[in-house]
Symmetry: C2
Subunit: 245 residues, 2 copies
DNA sequence: ACTATCATACTAACATGCTAGTTGACAACA
DNA sequence: TGTTGTCAACTAGCATGTTAGTATGATAGT
């Protein structure tokens, strides 16, 4: 009933880019296309063109789609078809909530247990962020930003934590792709990162959590503005179904 | 090198117990057998007996195993076999950490937004717990305990939260099956639940979090004692591999 | 013109055959 | 007896044929 347009399979990254089994590589290829919005919300995810483009049979593609459905990136309609899921403010809000829960637990633990070596690595990352802003390297700053949060999670010693955090906030990451980074926002982000870093360095759990909460709190209002501007990407009529594990 | 004994497929719950696609039902059947320790850690998960027992072909079974591997309940060795994963203190600790992060965020939000209707439902659950203890209905109390936490998560309005919380702490749930509930521990648990309930009713975020943290903190020491008693269930030599999403 | 009915062309789900790689046992040998 | 090489049996991964259910568009009826 909505936009039954098909995906453009040629936008799939080649599977030789990735490693692992065929199914694993197909999964990563499709996932990247969805997260980069090369496969827009609502698009029909047809198996045949994907098989043709990637040069594989239907089995690994079906396997990949099963995993994507479990993560909520696609909606499978039995015996009918598979579509890239629309944005849903409910799901995005939930992803942000889960993400915040994990980030707060992370900074608390890191503020408690920070070693001198870890402090140096964080400090280096923050100073790198300064440099990249001076050079107006937006993409570089985006990458350093991701690394800042990844470092914190790595310091907890929890191996699966980065993966879990990424999975629960997939919808948030996808929506974030649509937000244009302005110089003003980037400068603010740096200041927020620095506040987090300072609180952690001082081993001040509570201050670190407050700083992180403030930092993460900047995102949702911007996404909500996005919904006003591009409502066609969102599912206003929530006919989505999701199975329980 | 370890115990290459096979699973006893007859312990699989019949798939007519569940609903959804064949693959979905096979997944739930195997998952239940693993969590109930009917399939013990290290056991060889052979496809053929599973297909025979459940009366399905290999396709839905393979699909189910893919999902179980993603959740870390089984370890797939390519071109060799699939085994039920051993307990790992690292993974259990991580699961407890993630679970605590989510539960703390949950009680904070619920303490903030609690409605009178929700308060009544919680109160009813706590009083039910009292009754079940009086009747010495251990299984009933276990169930009410689960429901207590499920209610809190439901009250946040986050639809996926219960599922995420369950998934990240699957290993903890499995290990918990081995802990024998003593009357003393059950009485303590009730007191802890009541403390959480009181703090939430008073809309005291911090007290609710402290109470929840104390409550969840009781579990890990008991599991660590378990490791001393039954080390054969744990992977002392961590040769586990897990792919990143 | 507008609606109800039905046939056709799609799809996911499932079954099954094939391939290649790992493992473990056994034999040949030191 | 201890070690190494070979082989057979088993596995997951992959390809492909089959089935059944859904949606769409043509057609017939009003």
């Amino acid at each position: 009933m909505n936009h039954p347009y098909d995906i453009d399979a040629t936008r799939l990254p080649d599977i030789s880019t990735f490693e692992g089994s065929l199914a694993q590589r197909v999964y990563q290829s499709i996932k990247q296309a969805i997260l980069a919005l090369d496969f827009p919300p609502g698009a029909n995810l047809r198996k045949a063109p994907i098989c043709a483009q990637l040069g594989v049979s239907r089995a690994p593609v079906a396997d990949a789609i099963t995993r994507l459905a479990a993560e909520g990136l696609v909606d499978v309609v039995p015996q009918s078809g598979t579509r890239v899921s629309y944005f849903s403010m409910d799901e995005i809000r939930e992803g942000a909530f889960l993400r915040e829960a994990l980030e707060l637990a992370t900074v608390a633990k890191v503020a408690r247990d920070l070693t001198e070596d870890q402090r140096k690595k964080l400090s280096r990352n923050v100073r790198l962020q300064e440099l990249l802003i001076e050079d107006e390297d937006i993409a570089g700053f985006y990458h350093a930003d991701e690394e800042f949060h990844a470092l914190l999670m790595a310091f907890t010693g929890m191996l699966r934590l980065p993966d879990v955090a990424q999975t629960v906030s997939l919808q948030v990451s996808r929506a974030r792709m649509l937000l244009l980074p302005t110089p003003g926002r980037i400068a603010e982000t740096l200041a927020e990162h620095r506040a987090i870093f300072d609180a952690i360095s001082a081993h001040d759990e509570r201050a670190a959590q407050d700083a992180m909460r403030h930092h993460l709190g900047q995102l949702m209002p911007r996404i909500e503005r996005l919904q006003q501007e591009r409502p066609q990407l969102f599912n206003l009529n929530p006919q989505n179904t999701r199975e329980a594990g």
